[in-house]
């Protein structure tokens, strides 16, 4: 039994789900649900459809290059069953999932860095241009105008946490 990946959205296809289309050159396209199949029939490019994994990968939304993904890679060579190895693998899975989760969170944090400052700046700008809508210019001359409170944003990028020691 093998868990395949959907050609369109890259989600896991569990046995008994979805449909597969075999092209005449024997290339197999597997789809996890009719949504993905229909999008394929409409000749949509998964790299251009926002909800697919391919889009997120291309646009740097998700963490893509990581050692934790190596474990999930498709291997065509069958492994001989060994009780010890199977046990150790099962133990390692927990750790690997945890590490990946942690790294993904760090990735998002890094991507979101600097957004707060940008928002602040945009709001400042808008306030500068739109202040006359709230207060007439001659009133403004008498009173001091609105200002946004200063927000401290860290400028130095924090070092990415290094947890390279993988437990296999």
């Amino acid at each position: 039994m093998r868990l395949e990946k959907c050609w369109f959205c890259s989600s896991t296809i569990y046995p008994g789900h979805g449909i597969q289309f075999v092209r005449n050159d024997a290339k197999i396209f597997r789809f996890c649900r009719s949504k993905c199949h229909k999008n394929f029939k409409m000749k949509r490019n998964p790299r251009k459809v926002k909800w697919t994994k391919a889009y997120r990968r291309v646009h740097g939304k998700d963490m893509t290059q990581d050692t934790t993904f190596e474990f999930e890679r498709k291997r065509n060579r069958p492994e001989r069953y060994d009780r010890n190895i199977a046990e150790q693998t099962l133990k390692a899975i927990k750790g690997i999932v945890k590490t990946r989760h942690h790294r993904a969170q760090n990735h998002i944090k890094n991507r979101m860095k600097g957004n707060k400052r940008k928002e602040q700046e945009m709001e400042q700008e808008e306030l500068k241009h739109g202040i006359t809508l709230v207060k007439a210019p001659h009133v403004l001359q008498e009173e001091p105008p609105f200002t946004l409170p200063k927000v401290k944003v860290k400028t130095a990028p924090a070092q990415e946490e290094k947890i390279r020691a993988m437990e296999e």
């Binding site: 296809i13 046995p15 008994g16 789900h17 979805g18 449909i19 597969q20 289309f21 075999v22 092209r23 005449n24 024997a26 197999i28 029939k41 409409m42 000749k43 709001e123 808008e126 306030l127 739109g130 809508l133 709230v134 609105f146 200002t147 946004l148």
Partner: protein, 168 residues
């Protein structure tokens, strides 16, 4: 207070923009969807049962190129992937084992209509194709081109499976 003002301002701007562009955008979108729809309809292979007058490609070296189904030997509605049909040879290569106008039996090895697999998923192919059989139910040709489903094993067409280039 400042944030509130900023949000109000941006809302106004958005609504203005929306009212300006709405008419034109909808017109453009409508025309685009129509054209793609027509294009798709022309390209799609009809996905129904293989019934009387369905034309199938012959994917072996028996000499026939195209056959027309004249009877499905199983099922009320028609034949599906892996079923046996009676067919009349419509096009044939000169000097082949089968001649034009012959009435032959053939097994459907590829069908554009999806067929359920034993685990509940589905499989479908690019075109409708068959392999010609003799009266004993053995293939006439010695080669089979293109992908072939593994369901033929259940139907006892092992010879076709061994001759096939690809299994799907």
């Amino acid at each position: 207070m400042a944030a509130f003002i900023a949000s109000r301002l941006s809302q106004v701007r958005r609504s203005l923009l929306g009212s300006l562009t709405n008419g034109r955008v909808s017109g453009l979108l409508g025309s685009a969807s129509e054209t793609t729809g027509n294009h798709l309809f022309a390209q799609q292979q009809q996905r129904t049962f293989i019934q009387m007058r369905t034309k199938l490609n012959v994917v072996d070296n028996s000499g026939a190129k195209q056959v027309m189904c004249i009877q499905a030997l199983k099922g009320k509605k028609g034949a599906r992937l892996g079923d046996i049909i009676v067919a009349s040879v419509k096009e044939a290569r000169p000097g082949g084992k089968v001649k034009k106008g012959d009435v032959v039996r053939a097994v459907v090895v590829r069908a554009a209509m999806q067929r359920g697999r034993c685990d509940g998923s589905e499989v479908k192919f690019d075109d409708n194709a068959c392999v010609i059989l003799n009266k004993q139910g053995e293939p006439v040709g010695t080669r089979v081109f293109g992908p072939v489903p593994h369901e033929l094993r259940q139907k006892k067409h092992l010879k076709i499976l061994t001759m096939a280039e690809h299994l799907a």
